[in-house]
């Protein structure tokens, strides 16, 4: 959908300022900067103002003025997204609406296993509040200390526990949404079952703020894990990781909470650049899996289950060596290997990134084929393919050849994207498994999604936001 930039009328701005008050108004350029620049530093937009409403009513009032004046709105949570979806364009014709001041936990219902939160609550705070009520909120990802739950829902965030608990979408029971015309849809129901018409919440979740502004949500909670076993195991190759995964699901009683592929080069990067990371095994192997089983039964037999599983896996030649963390501290050490990969890649020169998914059964073929093609195109390129193999979701990152010119390498970003995404498309996969489309992948989306599907999306967009003022130029 093309947007025609036009200046925001000053009297509309005045009216909005009156609604949010001085605490909710930022128009100083340097104060606005953190809201205009995206996480990766790829985009720096402009805006006449950043508004920070303190309540649903204020969001609705702002939205009504925008609707009346056809002013575009860019809803923003913690602004940690990786596709530029939460920052405005350079034209300066859109207002940024940050939800950060709407940060109340409205209710916790331990018996119903639900928590009701406003959009601006930091993800780590949702987790902590659940914990204080002897419950688990399982969504967990790198940015959890600064991302906001509203943004997590708008982008359908994934993370490391999707395997067991699902994506952000699967954790939502109800939503409160300010619609593009400024009306408030109160869909804050805490029901496990409700078959009374179309499921509207699933439209707003994952739509990246292009259909409305999520202001609050009822989220599912789970029993708190009392017993967690973390293992780091070495495998002959990545194909064995898939067999190991299929085996682990059954053998664990579906209590697998993480199953992360780590290639040798990922471990080496982490060990080289992240203080405290060491190879926990005696000799090097080509591939590793970091896995976790957890149970809410205290002193249950999850440890025994893990031991028995690893024994079987070694007998079958799927696992060559490994270590099971004997303490929470040791588990943290093992996790640091995995978490260190992203950070350490920055020290290895340019990295061209992909966040793809294919059916789990095709991950092996994908890794072989995509690696072959990029290595053929640029000998010496270093494939760092790691991540949520249990979801079929691989962060297929390509570090530059040693000693290459970083700028020249990064200039080939689109070229390598094209290669990798073609392989993904051939496997009926996804070119954005968990990061979304935003602005970054909007223009390539039509190459990988059918015209029919895009047309259906546009029909929905037009039905809910006919004026096209919700985060225009993103996704569609």
């Amino acid at each position: 959908m093309t947007v025609m930039p036009k200046p925001v009328p000053p009297d509309a701005l005045d009216a909005i300022r009156a609604i949010v008050g001085p605490k909710g108004w930022i128009d100083d350029p340097s104060d606005m900067l953190p809201f205009l620049k995206d996480e990766r530093g790829l985009f720096v937009g402009k805006a006449p103002a950043v508004v920070r409403p303190a309540s649903t009513e204020e969001v609705a009032a702002v939205m009504r003025i925008c609707a009346a004046n056809q002013i575009a709105i860019v809803p923003q949570g913690g602004n940690t997204g990786l596709c530029g979806g939460s920052v405005p364009f350079e034209a300066g014709d859109a207002i940024v609406l940050s939800l950060g001041r709407m940060n109340r936990v409205r209710a916790v219902d331990a018996i119903n296993y639900t928590i009701t939160v406003e959009a601006g609550v930091i993800l780590a705070e949702v987790q902590a509040e659940a914990d204080r009520n002897d419950r688990l909120f399982p969504l967990s990802l790198g940015a959890e200390g600064s991302c906001q739950i509203g943004g997590n829902l708008s982008t359908n965030a994934g993370g490391i526990q999707v395997l067991r608990y699902g994506n952000a979408r699967d954790l939502v029971l109800g939503l409160e949404v300010v619609l593009p015309d400024g009306q408030v849809w109160n869909g804050l129901r805490g029901l496990r079952k409700d078959n009374t018409g179309y499921d509207l919440k699933h439209l707003f979740v994952g739509s990246e703020g292009t259909l409305g502004i999520i202001t609050a949500a009822v989220l599912k909670l789970f029993p708190k894990p009392r017993d967690i076993k973390t293992a780091f195991v070495a495998l002959p190759g990545h194909r064995e990781a898939l067999e190991l995964f299929a085996l682990a699901r059954g053998a664990s009683g579906d209590q697998l909470t993480a199953f992360e592929l780590i290639p040798r080069i990922g471990l080496e990067f982490s060990a080289r650049h992240v203080p405290g990371v060491v190879d926990p095994l005696e000799r090097p192997y080509s591939h590793y899996v970091l896995m976790e089983m957890s149970s809410s039964v205290p002193d249950g037999d999850i440890g025994q289950t893990m031991d028995r599983f690893l024994e079987t896996a070694m007998e079958r030649g799927l696992v060559l060596d490994g270590t099971v963390a004997a303490s929470a501290q040791q588990a943290t050490q093992l996790w640091r290997i995995r978490e260190g990969i992203v950070e350490s890649q920055k020290h290895e020169g340019g990295s061209i990134k992909h966040d793809i998914a294919v059916p789990v059964s095709l991950v092996g073929d994908f890794l072989d084929e995509a690696s072959r093609q990029v290595e053929e195109r640029l000998p010496g390129i270093r494939v760092v393919a790691f991540g949520h193999i249990g979801d079929g979701n691989i962060h297929f990152n390509l570090s530059q050849p040693v000693g290459a010119d970083t700028k020249a390498y990064l200039a080939r970003w689109a070229e390598f994207n094209e290669i990798v995404h073609r392989v993904v498309a051939g496997m009926n996969g996804s070119i954005s498994a968990e990061h979304g489309i935003g602005r970054l992948k909007r223009d390539v989306l039509p190459d990988f999604k059918s015209g029919l599907e895009l047309d259906l999306m546009r029909k929905v967009k037009r039905a809910l936001d006919p004026a096209g003022i919700m985060n225009p130029g993103k996704v569609l």
Copy 2:
């Protein structure tokens, strides 16, 4: 949405007959009857023909003719729905399109834990095919021997294992849908993660055939349970059932697969009318719970977990007595008590039914308040409230007073619905937890859903089906 009845043009009918051939064409009134009459016998509609296409291409070709001629279509699966959503109106201006001949399992991918099936596959056959591949397809409900998976998805079916595995909606990864204009949306992706735009599949799931025709689906599979423990326990009252449930979720490692409330009257009805059903306990109690824990770990400790849990529950006074099935046969016996309730109610005169849900934490308040109000309105009325208490979903059925006139009693159906639904609405609950809206509840929906929400639904309907030919007069 109001539909103007008009006769179906004969040449359009001829064209449709040519597409589906003699095997796919029924116009003899008595042969059509099973497709025109709903499960409960509440509605008997009319149609110029019932068509039974054998492929997605045939469905699409039929749909294109209907679109060109503005002919209404009623998609139909096994026709086991309880709200009249799958049969045509009496006007005779709509064609019934039955998916029953599209009954192929297209693929099973055990490593990806997915199965791809056509809409007409019987639910029990999906389960059996999963089982043959050493996997579980967990959707399970009374009609599983005759309902079709396409209908299960269109109505977002629930059933007894929702607690652990979710509703039908939660079991879908991808869909193939014939749209109202006859185009085919191929969304048959078997991905665990895919954040590339709006989640269209959730629009079609649960929309009861009013937005398009689901012709195939990729469904999630799970590890097969190897160890199942079934217990039938007596409780002091229904409030203890909720405490017991909260305790059980944690104590079972979230491996609870069923948690069904059974009141004394339900057990008595079953024992009276269902051959082989006996009270397994020595003396009578006011409430029971039939619960099941299951694990895919063979010879794991789920039995020990169940024993320990029941011990704790008895110590806390939540459980007064109980029995754990020692064999699969004994478990079947216990399940017969629960399953017999629906059937046995037929022998106790008229029954006014409700399929409601409230937050789990409010089930106790709901049962007290709704029972009080209906008993006040009609002394002697027999409340038979049973079902999926772990989902907050109660089948709140009201058997007539002993000796009352059945016809006169059933004439008060709407009156009692009104009472019960008002209590539900006061608790932000659902007047149709798993059965849907169809034709039966369409007219009361506006009393319990906000105008804004209905308006959003209508916008979506108009966007996808502007001519209003998809199952008109249902839901909206």
